[in-house]
């Protein structure tokens, strides 16, 4: 908390500038107002040193609110942790507002309250994330590590109704997920990159229409992709229609717009100067795109693809009508009935047995671990930096340059 919160340095902002480059504008913070009293506030007695006042006000209000609400709840004999928390927070806002108002005036009060609200809101979002992932780990890890490699390697054929958790195995589901998501990736990523390239480089009617199509389709309800594939691919083939291929196609319907959107955003920030330089040197468009634009955007494209994979790996609604599910290993996406991780979770939840629920948490743990690993991989790939030329490419270019310099006679 800044003691002179009324005049605080604006934060560095990453803004899309006219060149389309993501440039972080850093504004140096103004020097601390050493002698001057902050407008609307009390003159600070300690000079340039930060006063403890704001912290004391904040903590004091929080303690007062928490204590009084707790007291009331205890006297009334209520046991509602959620209600306790909410009413303490509301009371805290009131007390803190009154304190700030009486000490610093209305403007500062509003600012402080808004700060608290913004912190509260974003912490709630993080709390949800922690609660979900924490709960999955808490419930799932014991199941996964009860019989460790076995859980990842075996299939579900020995697990049914009341059998112990250690009989379960998620291997078949992992194989199914890998094949289905891999199939979706093979279909979607090349198509998405080509489409994105077209959208960025062309301004034809088709391009404008497809831009809107991509925007609209990123919000496609996943169940729609499921019934679409069911109608065109599963139903006509009868009982053998449910297989990994259908599931992979259903996933690709969802993955295509996702990756396209992300790829457009990456390709668009390739510095214009690079393209223009290549065009000015007389390179045809296709070489500019294939040898300059896409290699420059490579890291970002990889991130886009991996994030697309991570997002689709957990989709359940598509595979509900398309994969079929299987308790045995099925390595072929063309053979009927294949399982996968989300479907396995879903079918376990629907079994009326306590152990099935426990195993479902174990599968959820595996799925979340897989998705998190993909997420981290995407971040790592993206950290290489879009718009930066890879070392390999730089070396190749340097080699070429030295070759042409020695070969070509100077004019």
């Amino acid at each position: 908390m800044n003691s002179t919160i009324s005049v605080s340095p604006p934060s560095p902002v990453s803004a899309m500038t006219a060149t389309g480059l993501d440039v972080a504008v850093r504004i140096p913070p103004p020097p601390p107002p050493s002698g001057l009293p902050p407008p609307g506030g009390k003159p600070s007695s300690s000079g340039p040193r930060r006063s403890r006042g704001p912290v004391v006000e904040l903590v004091g209000s929080a303690l007062a609110a928490g204590a009084s609400v707790w007291l009331v709840f205890t006297i009334a004999g209520l046991s509602a942790p959620f209600g306790l928390f909410v009413s303490s927070f509301l009371l805290f806002l009131v007390i803190y507002g009154v304190v700030c108002h009486s000490l610093h005036g209305t403007l500062v009060m509003k600012d402080r309250l808004a700060t608290v609200a913004v912190w509260g809101g974003s912490l709630t979002a993080l709390l949800a994330l922690v609660a979900v992932i924490g709960f999955v780990v808490f419930k799932g890890a014991p199941v996964v590590f009860a019989r460790f490699p076995h859980f990842l390697l075996a299939d579900m054929s020995n697990f049914g109704g009341s059998s112990p958790v250690t009989n379960a195995g998620v291997g078949a589901a992992i194989v199914g997920s890998l094949e289905q998501v891999g199939l979706a990736t093979l279909i979607s990523v090349p198509l998405a990159v080509l489409t994105a390239t077209y959208l960025v480089n062309s301004n034809s009617t088709l391009s404008r229409v497809v831009r809107n199509v991509v925007d609209a389709m990123t919000g496609t309800p996943s169940i729609i992709a499921g019934i679409f594939i069911y109608i065109i691919l599963v139903k006509p083939r009868g009982t053998n229609g449910l297989d990994g291929l259908a599931a992979g196609l259903a996933l690709s319907v969802l993955m295509l717009p996702l990756v396209t959107r992300a790829a457009v955003e990456v390709i668009i920030i390739v510095p214009e100067a690079l393209r223009e330089a290549a065009l000015a040197l007389g390179a045809p468009q296709w070489r500019v795109i294939l040898q300059i634009v896409l290699p420059t955007a490579r890291a970002g494209l990889i991130t886009a693809a991996i994030l697309g994979v991570a997002r689709t790996a957990g989709e359940t609604a598509e595979v509900l009508f398309t994969a079929g599910g299987n308790v045995h290993y099925n390595f072929s996406p063309l053979a009927p009935y294949q399982s996968d991780l989300p479907l396995q979770i879903y079918s376990l939840i629907n079994q009326p047995s306590v152990n099935a629920i426990r195993v479902a948490w174990g599968v959820a743990f595996v799925l979340v671990a897989l998705v998190l690993a993909l997420f981290v991989a995407a971040r790592a790939a993206g950290a290489a930096g879009t718009g930066r030329v890879s070392r390999q490419l730089r070396q190749r270019k340097a080699r070429k340059r030295s070759m042409t310099m020695t070969k070509e006679p100077s004019p």
């Binding site: 340095p9 309800p221 717009p257 390739v270 065009l279 957990g314 939840i349």
Partner: protein
Amino acid sequence: MTVVAPRAMDPTLDEVSIELTPVHTPADRRFFGLLACSAAIMFMLLVSIMVFLAYHGWWALSHFKLKFFLGTTWSAPAHPGVLALIGGSVAIALVALVFALPISIATALMINEFAPARLRKWLTTLIDLLATVPSIVYGFWGLEALSPWLNGTSEWIVKHLGFIPIFRTNYAGSYEHSIFICGIVVSIMITPVITSITREVMAQAPREACEAALALGGTRWGMITDVVLPFSRSGMVGATLLGLSRAMGETIAILLILSSNSTALTGHIMGPEGSTVAKQIGSDFTISSTQGQSELVLAGLTLFATTLIFSLGGRIIVQRGTGPRR
């Protein structure tokens, strides 16, 4: 040849067209043909989804006509009323928005204006992570963790706020499979969507105006209310629409949590009532007769059209709203 620079996608700029000497190699034409084909596949995909759904939903449409869209109870195959299901989807989406919107705006402000630079990066990553966790995991968590946790709260709301019609319930004592719980779970899923768009829009607020506000002695909150929020208002509306479309299409979490007691249109969010389009398709589709499937497909098409309109409208508003003002 007029090469329209990649700026074409950037709505903040006028189209920058650069006249370059034509480099029309035949290879170029073939290459762009290939690119256009892949873009056309995208377009064809949307069209064929629409066409196939319409084809399979045709029976229901021709059989029930307008009754299909106006019926307030879904009891397939005899009396399908899609309004009941769309109403459920909207109810869950609205509950989700009530929670997600303030949290998203707070998070976006936090990332853009309040958090120190190092924390900012982490926050962005964590919010993206929130979007990556599979919806079945959220649904499972909502079923096993959240709804028992919130049981007492639901009971309190029904008891003390029951005079408000939406908090009334005909199923006292059973609060674990309600629209309310679904809404909270869905709100966690749409928070990252709304946050990331709002954040992008807010980042485009004119920095000079922000600095001017601060230089005139305004507080940070004053700067936000006077510069950032007015600038990004339409962007936030667009983000809300996008979140709404995402929330309406959510399937698996609702399929797990929401009860299948009644499929009538309901305004009571605390009890185990109501159903959504996606949930109904998910639970009934494979066990339905051909006619029942046709009805569900038509319901799905209605949902698809609704979400398409919302998400397209949202995008358009976001893009319009972030242009340079005045």
